[in-house]
Symmetry: C2
Subunit: 420 residues, 2 copies
């Protein structure tokens, strides 16, 4: 087998540990100099391939590549760009193959969530149809934790850890002040479709009556009357109430709470803001003093408190992706397999992209308490190991030492430009 | 001198390290068994003294007290309760003295900001007037960093570190996604009157064009036209723009941006939310996709990433407060003195409460760049040492091991109750 270059791209929302997967791909590829030439990364993800805007990672030092392990966000840039179906835009796929051909790329590593697993599969299928040999391996990544077949998704464990710790810390603050001040605290977290992230806040509760007292999941229809009654009961019992709300919380008709009719001075719909909406609801109906926080990007970029387990898994899926390619595999994804042991143990398995593409793994109803406001013991058993361990970056002058790569471009070989 | 008990109370908004001061007071008092009997803490701060609701810290183990060093929030509860002036409500002060007398309290340690320094001074004055000997020592604490005479305030360095790191991490996220997604990110931070916290975000910028690109200070009048032009220029140059906004940012007429006319479906003023207000302004006027975060309590309770310098200073002021009392001092506050050395060094000094009470230290104009959107080199030199060093708590099962005290009450001796 002749030597081929590899292409690696980051896709969709970035995470605290996606660069650990990148680190693994580059480090592992460098162990196979006879089979893998250079690893090219797409600048801004798959767009970089379409535009023939490739980054030559061979220009990066060993230390710089290692530094990726401790650096959040996407070191080569990522994008939200979903390739259309083959029927709708075959030209995009053909362009990818054209670029790969021009740069002698034989390995395609795509690091993303459900959409990119689907793209990865299509690219693999088309390369076969066009007679251009390409091994396409998908590397799982998503804070949403909604990929099927893998026990969990790299990126999720670190968000879960951030959310559990932040909930615990803020709850202690509210508790110590509630006698004369704030009685209600609301933390809004990500997760528009699935409640995995909101659920992880439940880990903060270590005994009964501990915060969070109410979790709002996208999976459970929001019932205003029941909710307000619950808030009131909790404050009467505890003196304060901590609520963690998924941005995806919605009414029976499907309307997001965050879009529930607030208008600014110009009459525009007030964008975003589930937490302030809930706070206002509680203020108006129950009269309690409140505070709210919206973690937004802070939660998915918080490398300073990443989960060690998550980091190790993110590295392992990247490493095994290259191993799979070296074993001649195609259209597969390394996945995390939870072993059936009392103490948490995991290994890396393999799953076909035919199975993974276009499926979402929702939070099981058995992970949510009967009343819909808490997580169950089963959920704790699943979630807890994923936040275990700390993996602190190095610091200088009080700030984490995050790497910035040189990201030197590869000379273009094609004459044509490609309009997105 | 006969043995007297000590009273300790936490006042106002809590911090990531106020319990380190509590730890120091208790540990240091235990070194003077001949002079100090028990340390009683006020349950919910000064309210605990007024209600004769005291906590007996002698019931806590050595390990539990040590655990306070790594525990955020107020371990005995705090309160927002400002005692009126002596003229307005002399009864409150007399009640304090009555409770102190009943419990043989000769030392009053009050851990708070400007208001509590004033209360501490008045209690000391009244005890003299009433002929009841009491040594009143104020222990500085405030994330607002606005106490005079001390170089900085315990609690601030940890918020500053949290804000600088969060800004850096979120900015990396935005940068890596900006090609196809979010172009503007806004982080709202605390600081209604002074811009110290917002300024600390500026530490995240390590070279030119680094985020944060715009900081909004309460000290600089908000100019919408100039601001939007700046946002637009930055996005054209960098591809994205990161804004850190102090909740106290305001228009020329004094109106907070956060209160600028948004109404909910019921016509109520939309409470809070400077970040969404700015985001909406940018969306309407410039059309850019945005994200925003509001850190709220997360920033002041983030013990998981507290500044080691801050932690050490919080301990030292507590320790020296007890030493001062043992030296017969009264109406004083230990303060942090920055030494005139190239490398940052500090020591603990002493300042009279007459000087401290009712004064606020604002962010100097020389700390803000000419255009009003950045911090200067002078600000960096002041701020940087305050976030230096990490002081990680222990973890179990992926979560910090924060202490919960027993907080056993002291038997009441007075027949009278006191209505707040």
């Amino acid at each position: 087998m002749s030597r081929k270059n590899a292409f690696y791209a980051q896709s969709g929302g970035v995470t605290a540990v996606i660069n650990a997967s990148a680190c693994a791909v580059i480090e592992t590829a460098r162990k196979y100099p006879k089979k893998i030439g250079k690893v090219y990364a797409g600048r801004h993800g798959i767009i970089g391939a379409l535009r023939e805007d490739l980054i030559d990672t061979s220009k990066e030092t060993v230390n710089a590549v290692r530094g990726l392990l401790n650096t959040p966000s996407g070191a080569f840039g990522s994008c939200r760009y979903k390739l259309k179906s083959l029927q709708e835009n075959r030209a995009e796929y053909e362009r990818l193959i054209e670029v790969f051909k021009a740069h002698n790329i034989g390995y395609f590593f795509y690091n993303g969530g459900g959409d990119s697993a689907d793209t990865c599969l299509k690219v693999s299928q088309l390369s076969k149809a066009l007679g251009y040999p390409l091994q396409a391996i998908h590397i799982p990544k998503t804070i949403d934790n909604d990929l099927p077949y893998t026990d969990n998704c790299p990126g999720f464990g670190s968000v879960a850890k951030y959310v559990a710790i932040s909930t615990k810390e803020a709850a202690m603050d509210v508790k110590s002040m509630c006698e004369t001040s704030t009685k209600v605290f609301i933390l809004e977290v990500m997760g528009r479709h699935a409640g995995w992230i909101a659920a992880s806040a439940g880990l903060a509760a270590q005994s009964q009556n501990d915060a969070p007292h109410i979790i709002l999941f996208p999976e459970i229809i929001f019932d205003k009357k029941k909710f307000l009654k619950k808030v009131s009961t909790i404050i009467k019992r505890n003196g304060y109430c901590v609520i963690v709300a998924s941005e995806g919380a919605r009414y029976e008709d499907g309307t997001f709470l965050a879009d529930s009719g607030t208008r600014d001075a110009f009459g525009h719909a007030q964008l975003g803001g589930l937490a302030p909406t809930l706070a206002q609801m509680i203020k108006v109906e129950l009269g309690y003093k409140f505070h709210w926080a919206v973690a937004d990007y802070l939660q998915r970029s918080a490398r300073h408190i990443a989960s060690k387990t998550d980091l190790e898994q993110a590295y392992s899926v990247g490493e095994r992706a290259v191993d799979f390619a070296m074993q001649g595999k195609n259209s597969v994804m390394p996945c995390i397999v939870r072993k059936d042991t009392k103490q948490y143990k995991w290994s890396i398995g393999e799953v076909s992209l035919h199975k993974v593409a276009n499926k979402e793994k929702m939070l099981p109803r058995t992970f949510i308490s009967k009343d819909g406001y808490q997580i169950t013991k089963k959920a704790v058993e699943y979630l807890q190991p994923l936040i275990a361990g700390e993996a602190y970056p190095d610091y200088r002058n009080g700030l984490p030492r995050y790497i910035e790569l040189k990201n030197i471009g590869v000379k273009k070989k094609l004459r044509s430009n490609f309009e997105l």
